[in-house]
Amino acid sequence: MELNFTLNGKNVSIDIEADKRLLDLLRDDFHLTSVKEGCSEGECGACTVIMDGKAVTSCLVLAAQADGSEIITTEGLAKNGELDIIQKAFKNNDAVQCGFCTPGMIMSAKALLLKEEDPTKEDIEEAIAGNLCRCTGYVNIINAIAEAADKLEAEKDGK
């Protein structure tokens, strides 16, 4: 089956077995290994990507469903060699320990900030409720996302 969709800002076309998961399509066919396979049942959020502006767990999306859609993975965030504000904030706040949950966390945060410019702590907690982290205890992750929201606002004011 031929799939046509936008992946990290580029139009892509690929002929694949349509009954695989979006997670496998991204990892095996496009080698986007930021997309992690954790629980494989939508509980852990490690495979979170953005599909048409919304966070989804790619282990629960059929590859065929990506046809015509717009997909963003963590690989698509850095621009011109510079990390995205959210990625920088994760670095600044020591929000990364083993790193396995990090790409999924960042994509959930990105989806939140695409929708909500002024997230409250509760908004942030809700946005990452579907992302499990077994190292950090979440505090630094929540701080990082709050900082990213502030920096994004400051950036807008600067322009």
């Binding site: 089956m1 009954d19 998961r21 767990t57 282990c59 629960l60 059929l62 469903q65 409720a129």
Partner: protein, 287 residues
């Protein structure tokens, strides 16, 4: 080699495919079915992805009814103005289903068709007597929501049928609606027990009560003993012990001897208590 995936863009096309072929599994959001992908492939099932049928994506009202297209996601239901206005318990249940990632994909039609006994939409739909419109190529029929469920994870739809929409009659909606659930954690949890209530309350008096429980049987059901106990009682004068006994009866009759019986006897009193507190608060506001 991979199996074929049909991807119709219109309902009519989907129904035609179902009419011609057999062993087709219908996939909407996919959040339940994709977990079984390997088993489905091994069994030789073909998939039909209906997520591209945009005509099934709507929430609308007319004078008498609210209609929800089968492909509306729980994310959309939770935020929708009409649903929050008319059926806030459905909006509330929708916001508590899974995680944001799940709610962005999971559909109300899929939740019904998947026939999980713990489906959070079911006690609410049952409480407002929602009807499911089911369509095949040459006919359509309306069935009460719970009758779409045959047994555990088995729906009552024929092989050539698709859920088209959910219809809720405005005349069935009373002035106090409620949903709550007990799960293993605060968020992203599958209900161990859930409740949907649709109550007519006037001047601190319960005039009519429809109380439904889910995750206690193969499908959500009305707890008529609790309903008749509550009806014609003053909200602030309900005897806690009697009320709890009625609630425990519901569990005892539904799952006698089950290992979870004792746990659920307590859980149901917790949900019942939350319902009562919420009713008291509602009555206190002068309704």
């Amino acid at each position: 080699m991979g199996n074929k995936v049909f991807q119709p863009k219109s309902l009519k096309r989907a129904l035609k495919i179902l009419d011609k072929k057999s062993d087709i599994k219908i996939l909407a959001g996919g959040t339940d079915l994709i977990l079984e992908l390997d088993e489905l492939k091994a069994a030789g099932n073909k998939l039909m992805d209906i997520s591209k049928i945009d005509e099934l994506r709507y929430i609308k009202e007319n004078e008498k009814e609210i209609k929800i297209g089968a492909l509306i996601t729980f994310g959309e239901l939770g935020e929708d103005k009409l649903i929050n206005k008319y059926i806030p318990s459905l909006a509330n249940a929708s916001r508590q289903i899974g995680s944001i990632q799940i709610r962005n994909r999971a559909t109300i039609g899929g939740n019904i068709a998947n026939a999980s006994p713990a489906a959070d939409s079911m006690p609410v739909l049952k409480s407002v007597d929602a009807q499911i419109k089911v369509r095949s190529l040459n006919s359509s029929r309306l069935i009460p929501a719970e009758e779409a469920i045959a047994s555990f994870y088995q729906n009552n739809l024929a092989e050539n049928e698709i859920i088209e929409e959910i219809v809720i009659s405005k005349s069935k909606i009373n002035n106090f609606l409620f949903f709550d659930k007990v799960g293993s954690r605060k968020t992203v949890s599958i209900a161990r027990l859930n409740i949907g209530a649709n109550v007519k309350a006037e001047n601190n008096l319960i005039k009519k009560a429809v109380i439904c429980f889910g995750a206690l049987s193969k499908r959500a059901f009305r707890a008529k003993n609790v309903e008749s106990y509550l009806e014609n009682k003053k909200i602030n004068k309900i005897d806690k012990k009697e009320y709890n006994d009625k609630l425990k009866n519901v569990v005892d009759e539904a799952i006698p001897g089950r290992y979870s019986q004792q746990y659920k006897r307590n859980a149901i009193c917790g949900l019942g208590d939350n319902l009562l507190k919420s009713l008291v608060e509602y009555a206190g506001k002068g309704e």
